[in-house]
Amino acid sequence: MNALEVAQRQVDAWNGHDADALIALYAEGATYHSPRFDHPLKGKALGDFLKSVLTAFPDFRLEVISKGDTGGGLVASQWVIHGTHTGSFMDGTPPTGRTVAYPGASFLQVEGDKIQSEHIYLDRQTVAEQLGRKPK
């Protein structure tokens, strides 16, 4: 399986709401970097986070805008996340009932048929605005 195929499996797992398949794509010790966290997630924390996204957005849909292999197993993608926030996040944030469509980009480093690392770029302010969260 090449890197693009692994990336496609990841998209399919997200859109199939299959948390187990999604988690299984990450290598043991794989790291997940996102502006949401001040440290990379790995292991159980990563699995819990992925599950919590699907819990928070039961109708979660990942729309891929572009995806390309840059060589060396590195896949660069840009996408839009669609979903309605009807479930609680892992941090206890209650559902807002709002529908979101926020863009982002990611870099997946693939080795063999596993994801070794994922770097996410997104604008937390856009997410907050769409969810109606304003500074207190």
Partner: protein
């Protein structure tokens, strides 16, 4: 170290093509134009009716001159704006992806009259560009404005923690 598998750099060389080399050079010039505050070079990099998307802009900009005006606004607010490249890669479909860190100090006037905070920020982001010939057909920028606002002091950490969800 001896290894039976090619390194990442070797793999990149294997995949390197004349087209990807050309795209990377075009993208380097565009990137340098931002770094060097060269609005004309930015305007010239885009195809007619191309689009430029940035989280700080409510709608995509259309055409190179509009992007150049946006760049001038950024450089006015951040007169010491500079861009440091983290990575630049071309994919097989005419797309160039680059990761960067911009830095700047908010000392200039803002278009809406907001006073400068006099604070410096260093923020990462990624630009994805679709080239058509030697021009950019579309370009999308991804960066985290909440991180920016925290560094410029427009938002306090407690406020950022409140608006951030999902962690």
């Amino acid at each position: 170290m001896l290894t039976s598998c090619p390194s990442k750099d070797q793999l990149k060389q294997i995949k390197s093509t004349p087209m990807s080399t050309k795209l990377l050079e075009l993208d380097r010039r565009y990137f340098d134009a931002w770094h060097n505050h060269d609005a004309d070079a930015i305007a010239a990099a885009f195809a007619e009716n191309s689009t430029y998307t940035h989280p700080a802009l409510p709608e995509p900009l259309v055409g190179g001159p509009a992007v150049a005006e946006w760049a001038k606004t950024v450089w006015t607010i951040l007169p010491d704006f500079k861009l440091d490249l983290v990575s630049r890669d071309a994919t097989e479909n005419g797309i160039v992806v680059n990761e960067w860190v911009y830095s700047g100090t908010d000392t200039g006037p803002h278009p809406d009259g907001t006073p400068p905070t006099e604070r410096a920020a260093k923020c990462p982001g990624v630009t994805i560009s679709q080239y058509e010939g030697d021009k950019i057909r579309w370009q999308r920028v991804y960066t985290d404005r909440l991180d920016e606002q925290l560094q410029y002091g427009n938002v306090e950490l407690k406020q950022a923690q409140h608006v951030q969800v999902g962690s």
